[in-house]
């Protein structure tokens, strides 16, 4: 038992999950989330974030691998895990035909809570989230931001020790988003461990102490946002080319850039070229000169300190596409 108390909040080893014959959603995923952390699982749609959450929260079962929450196996002892976790699903899982209070009371009942104790808890949460006013109205009349807060409040009724937030701010306006971020920080300050999935780089950067980048069912990088960024030396440089005679251009382009000494690993994506340099300001003239010598004209150049964008690029070899719309080919 002493060991169990020292175990991480979440520990997944070698998770594999396939759907049908062809879709391999998780491909040997390892994840460790420390107690007391706000940990972000960052990746585009389809990378395996939601599948990971489904398995760790006992909703789905892995084909292979194990996962433990606070030392308890999610398959062998699902019931015990369920009592310690709170789950806030991706698309508002509250009942729109019931009032906010009814939703929360029912949630409490599912954990065996009831009576005065439950009523006090629900009132306190409604007040803490600023939802006392609409509490007795049918949820479908609420605003999107209010609903999302209700989702979170509902996941907290039974005082979980680990909270899962699956895409908590997708579809929220900027104001509602920053309000929710403030709530998440407050809950974390009270000692709650939080795993959030997001496809917003900014969200992971702003909110999380630890970030795990997930790509094609695997974790490809993990660390504090600043660590991940500073592990990338220098600056990022982004070139927008003036014309797009793609394939023929690629060879010449790579050749031209290879001659610029400081430049490392250019990634060409249509007419956008991304690369890292030790010193952006100094590299730009050399890069432009090299391209000019090859007769490649450049529409714009951007130099920036490394962002999680660049971390993502570095570890996956692809530019970060913040989804929602399908990538058409």
């Amino acid at each position: 038992m002493v060991l169990a108390n020292d175990s991480p909040a979440i520990e997944a080893r070698g998770l594999v999950k396939t759907y049908g014959k062809d879709v391999r959603a998780l491909d040997g995923l390892d994840l460790t989330v420390d107690r007391g952390a706000i940990h972000a699982l960052l990746g585009p749609n389809g990378a395996g974030k939601s599948t990971t959450v489904k398995i760790v929260t006992t909703l789905s079962r892995p084909d292979r691998g194990t996962a433990r929450v606070l030392g308890t196996d999610v398959v062998k002892d699902a019931e015990k895990v369920r009592r310690t976790i709170g789950v806030v699903g991706q698309n508002g899982a509250v009942d729109p035909e019931a009032t906010g209070r009814e939703n929360m009371m029912l949630q409490g009942a599912m954990y065996g809570m009831g009576g005065k104790q439950l009523r006090i808890r629900v009132d306190a949460l409604l007040a803490a989230f600023g939802l006392t006013e609409p509490a007795n109205r049918i949820v479908k009349t609420w605003s999107g931001g209010q609903r999302r807060k209700l989702d979170v409040a509902t996941g907290l009724v039974h005082e979980p020790r680990v909270l899962f937030l699956d895409e908590p701010t997708t579809g929220l306006d900027p104001e509602a988003r920053s309000e929710l971020w403030a709530e998440v920080r407050r809950l974390n300050a009270e000692g709650l461990t939080i795993l959030l999935t997001t496809h917003y780089l900014e969200e992971a950067d702003q909110l999380a102490g630890q970030v795990a980048i997930i790509d094609r069912g695997k974790i490809v990088a993990r660390g504090a946002p600043d660590e991940l960024k500073s592990a990338l030396n220098g600056d990022s440089i982004v070139l927008e080319l003036a014309d797009t005679s793609a394939a023929a251009l690629n060879g010449r382009l790579s050749g031209a850039l290879r001659n610029v000494l400081e430049l490392s690993e250019p990634v060409i994506d249509g007419r956008t070229v991304r690369a890292r340099v030790n010193n952006g300001a100094r590299a730009v003239p050399a890069v432009l000169a090299a391209l000019d010598a090859e007769g490649i004209s450049v529409a714009s150049v951007t130099v920036a300190r490394p962002s999680l964008d660049d971390v993502y690029l570095q570890h996956t070899g692809r530019a970060y596409v913040p989804v929602t719309q399908e990538v058409s080919l």
């Binding site: 759907y19 789950v87 698309n91 899982a93 029912l106």
Partner: protein
């Protein structure tokens, strides 16, 4: 014990929804009213066919059949509620709490049969207004309603299981259409089985809908033969329990597939 409490909480959730739009029940009353009013009137003279062994009017004969048929097509929609909850991720939220899976199914089924009992009262009142006689009285009608409710619980479970397995509205509608009329026609709902072809009578002996119709009709007579009624009720109760367990079991395959 906790499973029972959870079941009533789940039923309460559905009842609250119902109390906010009680007119929904009207949709399910259109059919039985048509059967009673039109079918009952059109076929009122079949009672005079030699061998139609029944004391009373054809309307009296028809009431148990219509009520049990109402159980089929009213409770057959239970799966829609499951699909709504799946689509809104409400089911996913329930499934990551410690609630017993059986309480999710049983809570919904209990609501369905409570709604059915309300419909039975309305159908009974309407039949009385049309001149039907129930020699078995209130207790007889209560037994008939119980039979219909047990059929309703089984049908709800089948509908729930289909919803969890196939997860499409069409499949729930399909199973409903597939079950309702054949099961009703393969029973004594509209015609005594001694007047039906022998193969129908043979199938009817194994048809739970027929058990409910015949047991309910027997209970509505003056001085019912309880040795005829009780075994059929027991059979219906066993079926309701088995189908509920089966629907609960389909959560496993659902959770494996997501």
């Amino acid at each position: 014990m906790t499973a029972l409490v959870e079941t009533t909480r789940m039923t309460g959730r559905h009842l609250r929804f119902f109390s906010r739009q009680p007119y929904f029940i009207g949709i399910f009353l259109v059919q039985p009213v048509i059967w009673l009013l039109l079918f009952g009137a059109l076929f009122q003279n079949v009672i005079n066919i030699p061998g139609f062994a029944f004391e009373g009017s054809y309307l009296d004969y028809l009431v148990p059949g219509v009520l049990v048929m109402t159980a089929l097509f009213s409770c057959g929609w239970a799966g829609m509620s499951i699909i709504e909850d799946l689509d809104r991720s409400i089911m996913a939220r329930f499934l990551v709490t410690p609630i017993h899976r059986s309480a999710i199914i049983a809570g919904l089924n209990l609501y369905e049969v409570i709604a059915l009992a309300i419909q039975a009262l309305i159908i009974g009142a309407l039949a009385l207004m049309l001149g039907a006689k129930f020699p078995g009285g209130v207790s007889g009608f209560a037994v008939l309603t119980l039979c219909a409710m047990l059929v309703g619980a089984s049908v709800s479970s089948v509908s729930d299981a289909m919803a969890l397995t196939l997860r499409q509205r069409e499949s729930v509608i399909g199973i409903n259409t597939l079950l309702t009329l054949p099961l009703t026609f393969l029973s004594a709902a509209f015609m005594p089985l001694n007047l039906a072809p022998s193969w129908i009578a043979t199938i009817a002996a194994y048809n739970p809908v027929n058990w409910a119709v015949e047991a309910g009709r027997q209970a509505l007579t003056e001085g019912p033969d309880w040795s005829f009624v009780l075994p059929r009720i027991a059979g219906l109760a066993v079926l309701a329990i088995v189908t509920t367990a089966w629907a609960t079991f389909t959560f496993r395959s659902y959770q494996r597939s997501i």
